[in-house]
């Protein structure tokens, strides 16, 4: 018995050192900018982090269809309607690319959908704000998709191959989204005083929530350091937020709109804009489920899922029947 115990301890030690070797071999691959593919060995925490991030990202695309879908039937012209329809369809597509990438990590689509509907999984805080006027559709394309692009372009170089490839596809399409948003804002800003006021009102309401999209300040961000080491993340939240402010202020100037931040000013020494403090309590409230539209968004998603159940079941029955007929 005693000797067996000794052997076991030796074996545990050996297993532990093997695990360490695998971990450092994995990190070496990541450091060498090699892509990690679905069936490759990876640390469990790497897999978990990716499943969480990719599925959250997918859920955001799916929930993100709602605020814009809200204006499909009330778009001001047939042209705007066709464009918005294409954009909302793209969001669905992005959700599907991302679910497909997450599934390569061994999580099922049904599980991810269930986690979204039960409220266990999160999605981007931005989609819990209401779209009150047509100008909000412009502001979402310009600001929300603009912020998303800042976040997503570095993800095209993420260490996990299937995620990186999905992001390449997403980014190509996202650029159309941002331009169509800016085009709506530009049209409104070139219009009547009332139209311009509508654009300003939309900017006033969407500016701060857009800055929150980059997540907490670096000092508060709990997953950041590890994600950077794994090259899932390439830039910190604050770096990306700064980039976004720098490019967007100039675009607002062009439109003749003013950014709703009294502290905003250009710093000659750094070459960047400094800006006011974000209301982090608001951010935390929205994340915790108490934003203006959280409940409505989830209820709508649940209803759509439940209403579609008979279609999914019928399609499956039909497929089984056809297969049985072919076999006979």
């Amino acid at each position: 018995m005693y000797t067996q115990g000794l052997d076991q301890a030796g074996k545990d030690k050996q297993l532990a050192s093997e695990a360490e070797d695998r971990l450092s071999a994995f990190q070496a691959r990541v450091d060498a900018e090699e892509k990690i593919e679905a069936k490759d060995w990876m640390p469990e925490a790497y897999r978990r982090t990716l499943v969480r991030q990719i599925s959250q990202h997918a859920h955001s695309e799916i929930i993100g269809m709602q605020p814009e879908g809200n204006w499909l039937t009330r778009a001001p012209s047939l042209k705007r309607k066709a464009i918005l329809l294409a954009k909302v369809q793209d969001e669905a597509g992005h959700g599907l690319y991302l679910y497909s990438a997450a599934e390569t990590l061994g999580v099922s689509r049904d599980q991810m959908v269930a986690d979204l509907l039960s409220g266990k999984a999160k999605y981007s805080s931005i989609f819990n704000y209401p779209t009150l006027s047509w100008a909000d559709i412009g502001a979402i394309g310009w600001l929300v998709d603009g912020a998303a692009i800042m976040n997503q372009i570095p993800l095209c170089r993420c260490s996990y191959g299937p995620y990186a490839r999905a992001m390449v596809r997403v980014c190509k399409e996202e650029s159309f989204h941002q331009r169509q948003g800016f085009d709506i804002m530009h049209a409104l800003c070139s219009g009547s005083d009332k139209q311009k006021a509508m654009a300003q009102d939309a900017l006033d309401r969407w500016w701060w929530p857009s800055l929150m999209m980059f997540g907490p300040n670096d000092s508060e961000s709990k997953h950041s350091a590890q994600s950077m080491a794994w090259k899932i993340k390439r830039f910190s939240n604050d770096e990306l937020r700064q980039k976004f402010v720098d490019v967007t202020v100039q675009q607002a100037d062009f439109l003749g709109l003013s950014i709703p931040d009294d502290d905003l000013q250009f710093d000659d020494t750094t070459g960047h804009y400094t800006f006011g403090e974000i209301d982090w309590q608001e951010f935390l409230d929205v994340i915790a489920g108490n934003g203006p539209c959280n409940r409505q968004r989830l209820e709508k998603r649940k209803q759509a899922h439940d209403d579609g159940a008979w279609v999914r079941e019928a399609a499956q029955e039909y497929a089984l029947k056809q297969a049985a007929r072919t076999a006979a």
């Binding site: 060995w41 599907l96 049904d110 269930a114 399609a315």
Partner: protein
């Protein structure tokens, strides 16, 4: 929730005649025809393809990445299969 998840299909796109099909991602579908339709709507909304293949993911036979060193080892020591292995004498051209 549907009683059972629809099967997963891998999607391959030929972007134009003359090029091979290339893996794009995957879709769920109840049957083969629906897999093609879903793949079209998901992966070719901007005319990215002239031909689509879909194949049930569970029908793909794949090599094991953990065994890849041993699996591909037979090719490792046959450097004479590459043209760069051979010295070309000075004065010989277009070889």
């Amino acid at each position: 929730m549907s009683k059972q998840e629809w099967p997963l299909y891998e999607v391959f796109i030929r972007s134009k005649a003359g090029l091979s099909h290339r893996h794009a991602g995957s879709v769920h579908a109840a049957d083969d025809q629906m897999a093609l339709d879903n793949a079209r709507d998901t992966y070719t909304r901007r005319s990215e393809g002239v031909s689509l293949w879909v194949v049930r993911s569970d029908r793909i036979v794949a090599s094991d990445p953990a065994e890849s060193a041993a699996f591909f080892e037979p090719a490792e020591d046959k450097i004479y299969r590459h043209p760069t292995f051979y010295d070309i004498p000075d004065g010989v051209e277009n070889l």
